[in-house]
Symmetry: C2
Subunit: 199 residues, 2 copies
């Protein structure tokens, strides 16, 4: 079982533009980070289809989805995504790392609140079986997992944009970690690099 952290950044390392929140999950201007996911330009107001990715982007997504049996994300990402409208879009359960357990979603939604990355991983491993566990963001949860030595593989998609503001994946991260390039594929909308975390 592999723990794979997956996220998209801009060329300057941002995982969102400024003011990411429900209704604009990737912040102002951050839609460009996910052109590759949507198969091209899209807007927060609608007219996008998360299954519209094509070519190398489609293959990258499909390969990840095929591997992954359970997903972990942070509370900030969960809320910025508008709780995905109450329906878990991931294949397998989604464990949401949070300190505030009061408004936990009903277990039938496929969402579960957990209090820390370690606990999330423990529970995700149980349900993933032979499949892998994905840590899908946000930046803070990925940093925590990387710093704790819990990540086996880092799948970074880089969108061809310099955002100049927002939340950075490696903001405040002070560990020195060697990586090994597993695979690099590209479309016109992103470069997808998978790294093995060397221990």
């Amino acid at each position: 079982m592999t723990v794979i952290a997956t996220i998209t950044t801009s060329v300057d390392g941002y995982v969102t533009g400024p003011d990411d929140r429900a209704g604009q999950g990737l912040g102002i201007g951050g839609e460009r980070l996910h052109h590759w996911v949507m198969g091209g330009p899209w807007t927060y107001e609608g007219g996008h289809d998360t299954r519209a990715a094509t070519g190398a982007d489609r293959e990258h997504l499909d390969r990840l989805w095929t591997r992954v049996g359970a997903t972990i994300c942070g509370r900030g990402m969960f809320e910025a995504a508008g709780r995905w409208g109450g329906t878990n879009p991931f294949d397998g359960p989604l464990f949401v790392v949070t300190h505030r357990m009061d408004d936990a979603p009903d277990p039938s939604t496929g969402f579960a609140f957990v209090e820390g990355v370690e606990e999330a991983l423990e529970r995700a491993r149980e349900v993933a079986g032979d499949r892998d566990v994905s840590i899908a963001g946000g930046a803070d949860v990925i940093r925590q997992a990387l710093a704790a030595g819990l990540v086996d593989e880092l799948a970074l998609s880089t969108a061809p944009v310099i955002l100049g503001a927002g939340k950075r994946l490696f903001d405040g991260f002070t560990e020195d970690i060697d990586l090994r390039i597993i695979d690099v594929v590209r479309s016109d909308l992103a470069t997808h690099t998978r790294y093995e975390v060397v221990r």
Copy 2:
């Protein structure tokens, strides 16, 4: 004539590790940024050959060197590189952007001090003729040129390492710039991505 900014960063965006200076030009631990340039591990103390790059790394270097008729770098990089031992390693003159003109090198070295990025570009263009002008770093000079709209192409090499400290390419950079992916090639030691700056 194309103005191409070329630099290597870590996965977390650093162009040097901490404490970059003459004798350790890429900072502590920063040697790993240039494994791809040296064809593998090397040390500041010696035993490395800047012409030892192979495969996709060699091709990336050769393609850049073939195109470039003049190079620009910042004073910090010039000094951190130990003034390249007094011998210009670049094909064509090197213009060094600096505010301190007092200890300018002799023109016969192929090094010339200039007072700003704009002046450097003007003079580089004159000598480059049909060939391109490269802005080879450091981070500050590339940020200045990008912010001033002077860069046509950004050639970023990404080394498979998270440094966690040092100088970041996009530190303090607040512009929003769209890019277009021209080309992505990889070796085991780096991924080389060339972007066109969209205007």
